[in-house]
C-alpha cells in the first residue's frame, strides 16, 4: 500500500512525486514511457498570473498566490541555477529569436537589448537540426547594437559520425559538453575567441559566446563526476530541437531526485483502469486500487491517494476517436469538459480544444460536469489534464503543471 500513486511521468507527475516524497510519503510513479519532459525547452512559463488567476475556471483560480510561489520555490530549491527577476527575462529559441520566460537557468538569460557588444555563435560540427545561418540572421535583427560572428567547433568524439556524413543529436552533444574533455575543449575555444577579440581591438568590451545544446544545469554529483569549468567569457545557452537535451537531462535529474528520496518508478507499465466503491450513496467514491498492465500480467496497486498526471490531448491522457465520435480520459474515465466548437479558423489564435480537460474542485478532485459534484474523494488531477486553460496562447504550461503538482502533493 502506497501513500500515493502518481500516474504519468511528465512535469506535473514528477513534481507531485518529488514533493510528496520530500514530505516523507511513500510514492510510486507509474508511467508508460518517458514523459513529455523530453520536449522541454529548459524554460518555465508562468504567464500573466494576475489576469489568469481572475479568469473564471482557469486552473490558477484554484490556487492562492502562496501556492503559486511554493511551486516556484520548489523548482529553485531543486535546481538553484533557476532564477527569477523582477524584470522580464528573455532567452534564445532554437532559431535564435528571443522569447520571454519566467523561470529559466542563469545561463540562458540574454543580455539587455539596449546594450552593445558582440556575440560569437559556436557552431558544433554536424549538430542535428541546427541552422546557424538562420540563428545569425535572427540575432542580427533582435540585437541591432551587437556584432554577430560565427566560429565552428570540432569535437573529435563525433569524428566518425562526420566522416560518415551523419549528424549528432543535441543530446549526444550535451553529453560531451558535460564531460571533462568536452569542457576543456570549450574552454580552449572560448579562450581563443577572447584572444582574437583582444587582438583585433574590438570596439566594445562585451563579448558573449552563444552555444546550442549546452546543458550546464542539473548535475547530479552523486552519480557523475562534476567539473566546474570557468570559461573566460560568458556563455549563453540556447534551447534545442526535440528531443531536447534540456528536457532529457532535467527528466533524468528529477528521476534521480525522486528515487533517492525513496520514491519508486514503474516505467513500461500502463495504468488501465481503477477499482473503487462509493463511500455512501450521496458522498464521493473512494478509489482503492488502480489496474496496471505490466509485461504479461495485470497488477492491482493499492494506495491512499491517486494523482492523475497523464497529460492532455497531446500527451496521451485524453484519447480522441476517429471523427471525434469518442473522447475519453484514458485511465479513470473521468468526465471531460469539451467545448461545442473545437477549433477556430485562425491557426495561432486560442483554440477551444486547448480547454478540454477535467474540471476539479479546489483540492483538484474531479467533478461531475453536470452537477458539479466531486466524483472521487481521493483522486487528484494535475497538469495538462486540467480543463479551461491554453498553455500556448496563455504561456503558462510550466506554471500550471508545477503549481498543481506541488499543491496535490501537499494534500497527500
Amino acid at each position: 500500500m502506497w501513500d500515493a500513486i502518481v500516474v504519468g511521468g511528465g512535469l506535473a507527475g514528477w513534481t507531485a512525486g518529488i514533493r510528496a516524497a520530500q514530505r516523507g510519503k511513500k510514492v510510486l510513479i507509474v508511467t508508460e514511457g518517458v514523459g513529455t519532459l523530453y520536449y522541454f525547452s529548459g524554460i518555465f512559463d508562468y504567464g500573466d498570473l494576475e489576469s489568469l488567476r481572475h479568469l473564471p475556471k482557469h486552473p490558477y483560480s484554484l490556487f492562492d498566490a502562496e501556492a503559486i510561489d511554493r511551486g516556484k520555490h520548489f523548482i529553485q530549491e531543486l535546481c538553484p541555477e533557476y532564477i527569477e527577476t523582477n524584470k522580464s527575462q528573455h532567452a534564445l529559441t532554437v532559431l535564435g529569436t528571443a522569447r520571454q520566460g519566467d523561470l529559466m537557468p542563469r545561463s540562458m538569460v540574454l543580455p539587455n537589448h539596449q546594450e552593445q557588444g558582440s556575440f560569437v555563435l559556436l557552431v558544433p560540427e554536424g549538430l542535428k537540426d541546427f541552422f546557424p545561418e538562420i540563428v545569425v540572421s535572427n540575432l542580427v535583427r533582435e540585437f541591432p547594437g551587437w556584432q554577430v560572428n560565427v566560429k565552428r567547433v570540432h569535437a573529435e568524439n563525433f569524428g566518425e559520425w562526420q566522416r560518415m556524413g551523419k549528424s549528432a543529436s543535441g543530446i549526444d552533444y550535451a553529453a560531451i559538453w558535460r564531460s571533462k574533455e568536452g569542457q576543456n575543449l570549450l574552454a580552449q575555444e572560448i579562450e581563443a575567441i577572447k584572444r582574437e577579440h583582444q587582438g583585433a581591438g574590438s570596439r566594445s568590451g562585451k563579448i558573449a559566446v552563444v552555444l546550442p545544446s549546452l546543458v550546464s544545469e542539473y548535475f547530479d554529483a552523486s552519480r557523475t563526476k562534476t567539473y566546474v569549468q570557468d570559461y573566460s567569457l560568458p556563455v549563453i545557452e540556447m534551447s534545442s530541437f526535440l528531443p531536447s537535451p534540456h528536457g532529457r537531462y532535467f527528466a533524468e535529474y528529477l528521476k534521480h531526485q525522486f528515487t533517492d528520496l525513496g520514491g519508486e518508478l514503474m516505467i513500461g507499465a500502463r495504468a488501465a483502469a481503477l477499482n473503487g466503491k462509493p463511500m455512501s450513496a450521496k458522498q464521493p467514491k473512494s478509489c482503492q486500487e488502480i489496474i496496471v498492465q505490466s509485461m504479461g500480467k495485470v497488477l492491482h496497486l493499492k494506495a491512499k491517494k491517486f494523482i492523475l498526471a497523464t497529460g492532455g490531448l497531446l500527451g496521451g491522457g485524453i484519447k480522441v476517436g476517429i471523427e471525434r465520435k469518442l473522447i475519453q480520459e484514458d485511465v479513470f474515465d473521468l468526465p471531460l469538459y469539451v467545448p461545442q466548437e473545437w477549433s477556430t479558423s485562425q491557426f495561432f489564435a486560442s483554440q477551444p480544444f486547448a480547454q478540454i480537460g477535467v474540471e476539479t474542485d479546489k483540492c483538484l478532485r474531479p467533478l461531475d460536469t453536470n452537477q458539479g459534484r466531486v466524483i472521487w474523494d481521493n483522486v487528484h488531477v494535475v497538469g495538462r489534464m486540467l480543463a479551461h486553460w491554453d498553455p500556448w496562447t496563455q504561456r503558462c504550461g510550466g506554471g500550471v503543471s508545477v503549481t498543481s503538482g506541488c499543491a496535490a502533493a501537499e494534500i497527500i
Binding site: 500500500m1 510510486l28 508508460e32 514511457g33 518517458v34 514523459g35 513529455t36 523530453y38 520536449y39 563525433f158 566518425e160 559520425w161 560518415m164 551523419k166 543529436s169 543530446i171 549526444d172 553529453a175 554529483a221 552523486s222 552519480r223 557523475t224 563526476k225 526535440l242 528531443p243 532529457r248 528521476k255 534521480h256 528515487t259 533517492d260 525513496g262 519508486e264 518508478l265 514503474m266 516505467i267 513500461g268 507499465a269 500502463r270 488501465a272 496496471v292 498492465q293 505490466s294 509485461m295 504479461g296 500480467k297 495485470v298 497488477l299 493499492k302 500527451g315 496521451g316 484519447k319 476517436g321 469518442l326 484514458d330
Partner: protein, 415 residues
C-alpha cells in the same frame, strides 16, 4: 475494447518523436547503427514492401529494450527489430553474416550446452578460460572478445523433481523455479539459497529439468531452436500452471522471456504463463501485501548501490527488490538507475562489440565509482548475472544478487 492495444499493434502509433533513439545505448556509441526508430518503425515500412535488409545492421541491436520502455506511445520497437532479424535469416539476400559469425551465434546462443560442458569439470573449464592462448583462439576463431568478462562455472544447481505426486496435490504452497542457465551452471549457489529462502517462507520448490529459456538463442539468431525450447519448457510447466502453481525466476532475462515470448507460443500453457510468472521479489512483495511474508529479519547494517537490469525494467513491475530489502532493518540502498551495463547477455562478449559495450556501460561504471568514492555504499546489488559480471569487470566493485541480503536477514547464510 482497448483502443490503445489495437493502436500499438500497428506501426502508426510511432509519432517519430525520436526519444527512443535519444535513449538508445547502442546509437550513442555506434554511428553505423540507425537507432531503434530507424531500424524499427522506419524500416518496417520498407520491410512491408518486402524489401528485406541484411542481418548485419539488425545484429547491432543489443536487445536491451530500452527503446520499448522509453516510447511514450507503447510501440513495440525491439519486437519489430527481432521480427526483422527473423525475416532476414530466411530472406534471400546477400548480406548474411559470415560463417564465422554464424558459428559464433550458434555457440553463444547455447549458454545451456556451454554450461553443461563447463560444469563437468568447472575447475578445468575456468582455468582454460583464463588462459591467454584459449582466449586468443576464441577471439580469432569465433570472434569472441579476448577481453570480455566470460563468467566462471561452478557447482551446478540440481534438478528437484516433484516427488509429492500430482501438482497442486498434497502441497498447497509450492512453486516452480525457473533458474536459467546462468544460475544453473555459473552460480548454482544463488539457486540453492533461493530454495532455502522459499522454504523459510513456507514454500516447497520444484526445479524441473528445463532447457534454456531461449533468449540467448534469439539474441544470436537461433530462432527455431528458441521456439523449440519454449515449447519444451511450457510443456514441462503445463500441469503446474493448470494447478495454479506460480513460476518463479531469479534471472531477469528468463523472467522477461517467460512473460513476453511464451504467451505467444502455440501451446496449452501459453495463456497462463504470463500471469503466473513472477520475478522472485515480485512474488515476495505480493505475499507481503497479503501479510504472508515472514518479517523475522535480523539487522543487516550495510549500504548498497542497486542496478536495475534492463530486462527487469522492461517487465514493467518497478523495483520490487528495493521494496523488500527496505523492510530489513539497517539496509540502505540507492537505485543508481544509470542506464544499461552494456553486456546485454552475450552482446559484449563479441569481439567487434566489446569496446562499444564498455562505452555503453560507462555512465553506470561512473555512477558506481562515484558512489563508492563518496562512501554512499561499498557493494553493488543486481539481479541479472551478466550485469553483475559486467559491473565487476568495469569497476572491480563486488556485486551480488539482492537475494543474498534477504537470505542474510533471514539468517540462512552468514555472508
Amino acid at each position: 475494447m482497448d483502443v490503445r492495444n489495437e493502436l500499438t499493434a500497428r506501426l502508426d502509433a510511432c509519432q517519430k518523436c525520436n526519444v527512443c533513439t535519444a535513449q538508445c545505448p547502442v546509437a550513442k556509441v555506434n554511428p553505423h547503427f540507425p537507432g531503434p526508430k530507424g531500424l524499427g518503425p522506419d524500416m518496417e515500412r520498407f520491410r512491408r514492401g518486402q524489401f528485406i535488409p541484411g542481418e548485419t545492421t539488425l545484429d547491432d541491436c543489443s536487445n536491451c529494450k530500452t527503446c520499448e520502455v522509453t516510447c511514450p506511445s507503447g510501440v513495440k520497437i525491439t519486437e519489430m527489430i527481432l521480427e526483422a532479424r527473423r525475416a532476414a535469416r530466411k530472406g534471400p539476400h546477400k548480406t548474411m553474416l559470415s560463417l564465422k559469425l554464424r558459428l559464433r551465434g550458434y555457440v553463444l546462443g547455447r549458454a545451456e550446452y556451454l554450461g553443461k560442458l563447463g560444469v563437468l569439470w568447472p575447475g578445468m573449464a575456468n582455468q582454460a578460460l583464463k588462459l591467454n592462448l584459449v582466449r586468443w583462439a576464441l577471439d580469432k576463431g569465433l570472434a569472441v572478445s579476448q577481453k570480455g568478462p566470460l563468467p566462471a562455472y561452478g557447482r551446478p544447481l540440481e534438478v528437484i523433481e516433484d516427488k509429492g505426486g500430482r501438482a497442486g496435490g498434497a502441497f498447497r504452497k509450492q512453486v516452480i523455479y525457473f533458474p536459467g542457465c546462468y544460475t544453473r551452471y555459473n552460480e548454482g549457489d544463488t539457486g540453492r539459497i533461493m530454495i532455502k529462502v522459499l522454504e523459510h517462507i513456507g514454500y516447497k520448490t520444484i526445479v524441473p529439468n528445463f532447457h534454456c529459456c531461449g533468449l540467448p538463442l534469439e539474441a544470436n539468431g537461433q530462432f527455431d531452436k528458441a521456439r523449440k525450447n519454449g515449447l519444451y519448457n511450457l510443456e514441462l510447466m503445463r500441469p503446474y500452471l493448470e494447478a495454479g502453481v506460480p513460476v518463479i525466476t531469479s534471472c531477469t532475462s528468463c523472467g522477461l522471456t517467460l512473460k513476453e515470448d511464451y504467451p505467444k507460443l502455440p501451446a496449452p500453457g501459453a495463456q497462463m504463463i504470463g500471469a503466473q510468472t513472477y520475478d522472485l521479489f515480485e512474488f515476495l512483495w505480493q505475499l507481503h501485501e497479503k501479510r504472508e511474508l515472514p518479517l523475522d529479519f535480523q539487522e543487516v547494517k550495510a549500504c548498497f548501490g542497486y542496478h536495475l537490469p534492463c530486462h527487469l525494467k522492461a517487465q514493467g513491475i518497478g523495483t520490487p527488490a528495493l521494496r523488500i530489502l527496505r523492510l530489513i532493518p539497517g539496509v540502505k540502498i540507492r537505485n543508481l538507475d544509470a542506464g544499461c551495463c552494456g553486456l546485454s547477455g552475450s552482446y559484449g562478449f563479441k569481439a567487434e562489440k566489446y569496446d562499444k559495450a564498455m562505452k555503453i556501460g560507462n555512465p553506470l561504471f561512473e555512477a558506481v565509482n562515484v558512489g563508492v568514492e563518496r562512501g554512499d555504499f561499498q557493494e553493488m546489488l543486481t539481479e541479472c548475472g551478466v550485469c553483475k559480471v559486467q559491473i565487476q569487470h568495469g569497476t572491480s566493485i563486488p556485486t551480488k544478487h539482492p537475494l543474498r541480503i534477504l537470505a542474510k536477514a533471514y539468517k540462512i547464510i552468514l555472508e
